[in-house]
């Protein structure tokens, strides 16, 4: 009994964790290449889900609605970079970050006006059946979420490891200045990374919509939790970011089940705050604190 309850909490946690993991990955890639934390990251998850659900409701078949919504979100991601960040590449970083928050607000607002206040849904991609693991019954769509996430992660890591562009992205994350001097065109990479982050975010949003529905204001929560995952890896390591995202999903689900569903957000954010307090220097004194942030903004 207790064991099946555990699985009933763990597995959905892994499912939402998949979304956080992909968002976290987006955070790490954009932070390293564009040197900006993109607060609109979570909004692409929301937009992907909303757009697909809306297209489907309008009669567009699923196999067409999914790629359509993904491409639109990738294009919005690219447009965000080109229109709102490229023109202010040399302004102080806090202004650039604030701009991304403004963009996030606009995307939320547009979703509210275009799709309305009510949650939208999609049918499971392979029907509304279920399967059982360890006494826990999960909707079949869960497998789609896990599979899609695994596939996206594989493609991303393969891309980073084995292609020239991927190596350039990694070079930027190690030393942006040196990468530029070596001829890496950071401007083009930035555009690419924003488009990719928009597209993968959207795909994550699409595959979970049959399970968790999609609402106009869901983006902020996806964004924040993905960010927590990303910051566990100091916004540097894609691997830790992904693991962090999955972990946050599991913690959230377990605390909702074992403690209180109303308090789950408070617990997750509380964990973040405590983690940052500890990591941020409650136990660190003197010059060591200068090292971590030695990259002048």
């Amino acid at each position: 009994m207790t064991q099946s309850l555990f699985f009933e909490l763990l597995l959905p946690g892994l499912t939402t964790g998949c979304v956080y993991a992909l968002v976290a990955l987006g955070f790490v890639l954009t932070a390293n290449v564009a040197n900006v934390v993109n607060f609109a990251q979570g909004e692409y998850v929301m937009l992907g889900g909303m757009l697909t659900a809306w297209l489907y409701a309008e009669g567009v078949p699923l196999w067409l609605a999914i790629p359509l919504a993904t491409v639109v979100c990738a294009m919005i991601g690219a447009a965000q970079e080109r229109l709102t960040l490229a023109p202010v590449r040399h302004t102080p970083q806090f202004i650039r970050v604030t701009i991304t928050l403004g963009v996030a607000v606009v995307l939320r607002g547009i979703a509210l006006i275009a799709f309305g206040k009510d949650p939208l849904s999609l049918p499971g991609f392979s029907g509304d059946g279920a399967f059982e693991i360890g006494g826990a019954v999960m909707p079949l769509q869960t497998l789609w979420v896990w599979g899609a996430t695994a596939a996206l992660l594989l493609v991303t890591f393969w891309f980073l490891k084995f292609t020239d562009i991927g190596r350039a992205v990694r070079a930027c994350s190690i030393n942006l200045q040196a990468a530029r001097l070596m001829g890496v065109k950071a401007e083009r990479l930035t555009l690419l990374v924003f488009a990719a982050a928009g597209g993968t975010g959207a795909l994550a949003g699409i595959v979970v919509t049959p399970i968790v529905l999609s609402t106009w204001d869901a983006g902020i929560s996806y964004g924040l939790k993905g960010f927590i995952g990303a910051i566990l890896g100091s916004l540097r390591s894609p691997t830790i970011a992904v693991a962090g995202g999955l972990g946050i999903g599991v913690i959230e689900s377990l605390s909702a089940g074992y403690i209180s569903s109303g308090m789950k957000d408070a617990i997750v954010y509380g964990v973040l705050i405590v983690y940052l307090l500890v990591q941020g220097g409650v136990f660190v004194f003197g010059r060591a604190t200068l090292i971590d942030g030695s990259r002048e903004q």
């Binding site: 202004i95 408070a266 307090l277 941020g280 010059r287 090292i291």
Partner: protein, 600 residues
């Protein structure tokens, strides 16, 4: 300062007072006055936020969380416990400031976006707590029946009086903000925003001032939250939700991030926009419009409304001052000779067995040397010898792996740059670290930071001694500029000066702090021959004041002509340490500079 410029501040205050006083006469009726009250409360809440975001560049995206604390404290204490509204407001302020301090003290040690995320997370936690703690907060339904505002049982009277009261509070907040703006703390905030490295070098305690602003902004936000609740007469989790945080952010951005007035202007503008949308029945568009305004203003008009009004005033008043001639003839008697301190020849700085490795590279390997009081000591060596690393270890910018550094007999190897500057060690940088967001005079006044003591409370109230201290700082900064030969450049911005003059501003800034020891990192780099000659004269004048000088330098002519003692480094190790003549003939030095063959 010209008379036109000195009128700017009182004129702005007078204009704002008139606007606030006249508004209820133009648009009477309880609804418009209510709208004005809401704007006033928001204005009070934005002042601290402008200082935090616009001056110190610290992002806090969940600022409405502190309005929630103020709002709930007022609502719960007044409704459930029957407290006096004024007392409840004060308790709210104290709670908000205490929470802000506890959170900010560790978080603000980290740079970057952590505060942004944490403040947002805190607000979301507060919303969850407000929803869940039904027995205390009333949950989603909230707390109803909040009384009208009164002070110790003394009712304020009707809506109109409350409107004026709220705006008086807002003006008090603006006044505090303006007092901070034109003080050593205001300059410290701008310095931190421009370059934390340079801010540390003049003794500015970076974490302390960031925390101060976060705490002050939390207190002011709390006031706004309490006042708003006494207007609404109810409090629930949606009143100061995420949307309100965004509105605050949009307000300070539209209003202008570089002026304390920006908050009040922006709060008024935001309230007007919201009312317009409401009258057009387009409330759903609020988010899109606020977000778009944020992005567009940041992209195209970074000064916001306050910036635009200020620029207009300057144009009308004909205050376009440009290209005033700069006196290049320095005045050696402008600065007084150094008083106190050890007598010449005694050991001032002692570096002993200092080590620093980066991975397998021993950048500085067991280096020891002494600097005598009153001397000019040069640290030289080929590129990559470890000179700058050693300099950073002495200045506090990197931790040592091993060894000690003693200044006037006291160990300083564990201290932070600001603490080292505090003890009287000045510093200039190889790549200039000036503050482009301040005038030349203000840049140099930053050098006085460590010598002044006015605290945040005295500054907020602008006590008479603060004004005296400011005047003294201004005088000393002018003297330091005269000493390096930059009279007339006071009101220009550093970026308008030539590279050589910018370097002189840095020297003036360091000298304004009356250092006992001056560290100069490659002061001649980027200078032409004439400028290098002038620099040599300047360094001699500095030494003539009794200031001990330690410099890292490439320019051999400069070093050989100036230095009493030369320390030579190669591959992280000290290879020679003697007078110029001895070092010049030292075989190891020749080998290091010219190659082994040159010695043979």
């Amino acid at each position: 300062m010209s008379t036109v410029a000195s009128w700017k501040r009182p004129l702005a205050f007078a204009a704002a007072l008139v606007a606030v006083a006249v508004y209820p006469l133009i648009s009477p009726g309880s609804y418009p006055i209510g709208v004005g009250t809401v704007a006033g409360a928001m204005a009070a809440g934005t002042v601290g936020f402008v200082l935090l975001l616009g001056y110190a560049h610290q992002l806090a995206f969940g600022q409405a969380g502190f309005l929630m604390i103020g709002g709930y404290t007022s609502a719960i204490l007044c409704v459930t416990y029957g407290w006096d509204p004024f007392l409840a407001l004060v308790v709210g302020i104290l709670l908000s400031m205490a929470l802000a301090y506890v959170i900010a003290r560790p978080i603000l040690k980290l740079r970057g976006f952590v505060l942004a995320m944490v403040s947002l997370a805190i607000q979301l936690v507060l919303i969850v707590l407000a929803l869940e703690a039904v027995s205390i907060t009333g949950g989603a339904l909230g707390t109803q029946g909040v009384p009208k505002f009164s002070i110790f049982g003394l009712p304020l009277g009707g809506d109109l009086v409350f409107y004026y009261f709220v705006w008086v509070v807002a003006f008090i907040c603006v006044g505090i903000g303006l007092n901070i703006d034109r003080s050593r703390i205001g300059r410290a905030l701008k310095a931190i925003a421009a370059s934390e490295t340079a801010a540390g070098s003049v003794g500015i305690d970076i974490v302390k001032h960031k925390v101060q602003m976060f705490v002050i902004s939390a207190g002011m936000a709390s006031v706004a939250g309490s006042l708003g609740v006494h207007y609404l007469r109810a409090m629930d989790p949606n009143v100061y939700g995420f949307a309100y945080s965004l509105n605050l952010l949009t307000a300070v951005i539209i209003g202008g991030l570089t002026s304390v007035w920006g908050g009040a202007l922006g709060a008024t503008a935001i309230t007007a926009i919201r009312e317009l949308l409401r009258s057009l029945s387009l409330p759903l568009w609020e988010a899109v419009i606020m977000g778009t305004l944020t992005v567009v203003v940041l992209l195209a008009f970074p000064g916001g409304l306050a910036g635009a009004i200020g620029a207009l005033y300057d144009r009308l008043a004909g205050r376009e001052r440009k290209g005033r001639s700069i006196a290049v003839e320095p005045d050696p008697s402008a600065l007084p000779p150094l008083e106190g301190g050890p007598s010449p020849g005694e050991i001032m700085l002692e570096v002993e067995g200092v080590e620093r490795a980066f991975g397998n590279l021993r950048a500085v390997n067991k280096v020891s040397f002494k600097v005598a009081t009153g001397s000019i000591t040069a640290l030289i060596g080929p590129n990559g010898a470890g000179k700058t690393t050693l300099f950073n270890l002495i200045g506090g910018y990197q931790p040592l792996d091993d060894g000690t550094v003693r200044f006037l007999g006291e160990p300083i190897e564990k201290l932070l740059p600001s603490e080292i500057a505090e003890r009287g060690i000045g510093r200039t940088f190889q790549n200039l670290h000036l503050f482009p967001n301040m005038t030349v005079l203000e840049n140099v006044m930053c050098g006085r930071h460590r010598l002044n003591s006015a605290g945040i409370l005295a500054i907020s109230a602008r006590l008479p001694r603060v004004a005296v201290e400011e005047e003294e700082s201004r005088r000393a900064a002018r003297a330091a500029l005269a000493f390096v030969g930059l009279q007339g450049a006071e009101e220009t911005y550093p970026t308008a000066l030539s590279f050589g003059h910018q370097r002189l501003v840095e020297v003036a800034r360091a000298m304004a702090s009356s250092p006992t020891l001056l560290l100069m990192d490659e002061p001649a780099s980027g200078l032409n021959d004439t400028e290098t000659e002038r620099l040599a004269e300047l360094i001699l004048r500095i030494a003539a004041l009794g200031v001990t000088v330690l410099l890292v330098e490439h320019d051999m002519r400069l070093v050989m002509g100036l230095a009493d003692q030369i320390v030579v480094m190669h591959h992280g190790e000290k290879i020679a340490d003697d007078s110029a003549d001895v070092v010049r003939a030292h075989p190891a030095v020749i080998a290091a500079y010219l190659g082994q063959e040159a010695v043979a």
